[in-house]
């Protein structure tokens, strides 16, 4: 086997790919959360922000990179999980693990997050692009798609907001293990820095979860 060509077909190569794509997706989450803050501050600003995000050429290119990142992360995870299941075909009658539940169930939490992502894209990405969106005015008085009202309408449904909260809590557990795990997979482990990386990972997971659930919770309660 050629080692350089086979890098990403080896167990460790696949781990590097998981780590790189995972950290890339973390950067997307951060940008997505920052962009959403205008939902709380100014409806007009939020609508202008969504127009910018769906029309700027650079953002459109990054959208494709993002899709590739998601697909690579998901396909790689499926391949790794398949190999892992095959590596232990017989389960123990009695098995006690000392590790955390969420570190052992990245596949489960990842699958639920993927299901959420499809719902989320269907409501907002597909809905914005191809759906019937009401028009309103931007700051210069021109017509603009009213994404703000669309978001409010979606979060006024209790079941819809509840799905968001559950999915974002699971995303938090996924990030809590995944963030620090990415550094370990890349071999970046150090007596001084690794405890700090773990703390940053946990803080990132908590901020992402609380940040993203604040929208459905706030808009559900204020519309009661």
């Amino acid at each position: 086997m050629s080692n350089s060509a086979g890098l990403f077909s080896s167990s460790l190569g696949r781990k590097y790919l998981m780590a790189i794509t995972g950290l890339f997706l973390c950067s997307f989450l951060l940008i997505h959360l920052i962009g959403n803050v205008s939902l709380f501050t100014d409806p007009v600003q939020f609508n202008e922000y969504t127009r910018f995000m769906s029309s700027n050429p650079l953002i459109r290119i990054m959208e494709i990179v993002l899709v590739v990142g998601f697909l690579a992360h998901i396909i790689d995870a499926i391949m790794l999980t398949k190999a892992n299941k095959a590596a232990q075909p017989v389960k123990y009658a009695m098995d006690k693990k000392k590790s955390t539940w969420y570190s052992r169930n990245m596949g489960l939490t990842g699958t639920i997050i993927l299901a959420f992502l499809i719902l989320h894209l269907q409501s907002f990405w597909y809905g914005y692009k191809f759906g019937d969106v009401a028009m309103t005015l931007d700051s210069s008085g021109a017509a603009i798609k009213d994404m703000y009202t669309m978001v409010l309408a979606a979060f006024s449904q209790s079941w819809y907001s509840a799905i968001y909260v559950v999915a974002m809590v699971l995303l938090g557990t996924h990030l809590n293990h995944g963030f620090q795990s990415a550094f370990q997979s890349m071999g970046l482990r150090h007596k001084k820095y690794t405890p700090a990386i773990k703390k940053v990972g946990t803080a990132f997971a908590v901020i992402m979860t609380l940040g993203f659930i604040s929208f459905p919770i706030y808009f559900y309660i204020t519309q009661l």
């Binding site: 086997m1 080692n3 080896s10 167990s11 460790l12 190999a83 892992n84 123990y92 009695m94 071999g187």
Partner: protein, 253 residues
Amino acid sequence: MAGMNLTLKVWRQNGAEDKGRIVEYKMSDISPDMSFLEMIDVLNEELIQKGDDPIAFDHDCREGICGSCSMYINGEPHGPEDLITTCQLHMRSFKDGDTIYIEPWRAAAFPVIKDLVVDRTAFDAIIQVGGYVSVNTSGNTQDANALPIPKADADAAFDAATCIGCGACVATCKNSSAMLFTSAKISHLALLPQGKVEAQERALNMVEKMDELGFGNCTNTGDCEVQCPKGISLDNIALMNREFLGASLKSEK
């Protein structure tokens, strides 16, 4: 002190082709001072006297250094205590009336030979592709101090070298991954000047062999490190990951 009464649930499997099953055995008057393997010896004596087939299990030195004993006891490799092998486990770690599950290591790469005995030649195969230093040492040994080694490196290499290859890491890993074992072998040589020469080739060959043998992938849950009787650290897996990445990029093969 009165002996303990125990219920054992032991995996019995008459050869690789047999489906295997859990069989229950009642034990009475077991001394808390007995080692776990002595307790199995007592059970086997009883089975032999009754004309039954004794339970097959691996054991050799019975002092925690050979890496032969390999029992998954009550859901943990080498039983409930930390940093010991099955032979160093004593019955005082259990209570009167306890039910104890005893199972073989579970991994596709470690097929069951009989009862609690698994075939661990997969570990030998990994060692054979790089777990050595190609230096002729006959008759021309140089002074040990001719090659200065930083104390921290020597300590880390020695810590990795304490791996006895028992397979507890693979057994407890939800993915039956052999990365703790393989990384310990890679780093204990890579950290020393004699082993550094072949470090990259070693990392490539040992990882490739590990994958080929059907061990799973590491998901960094850390169960291996917790269950390792020698306390081998996840630091070694990180070192292996670094070595392999550098080696893959530089390799001309």
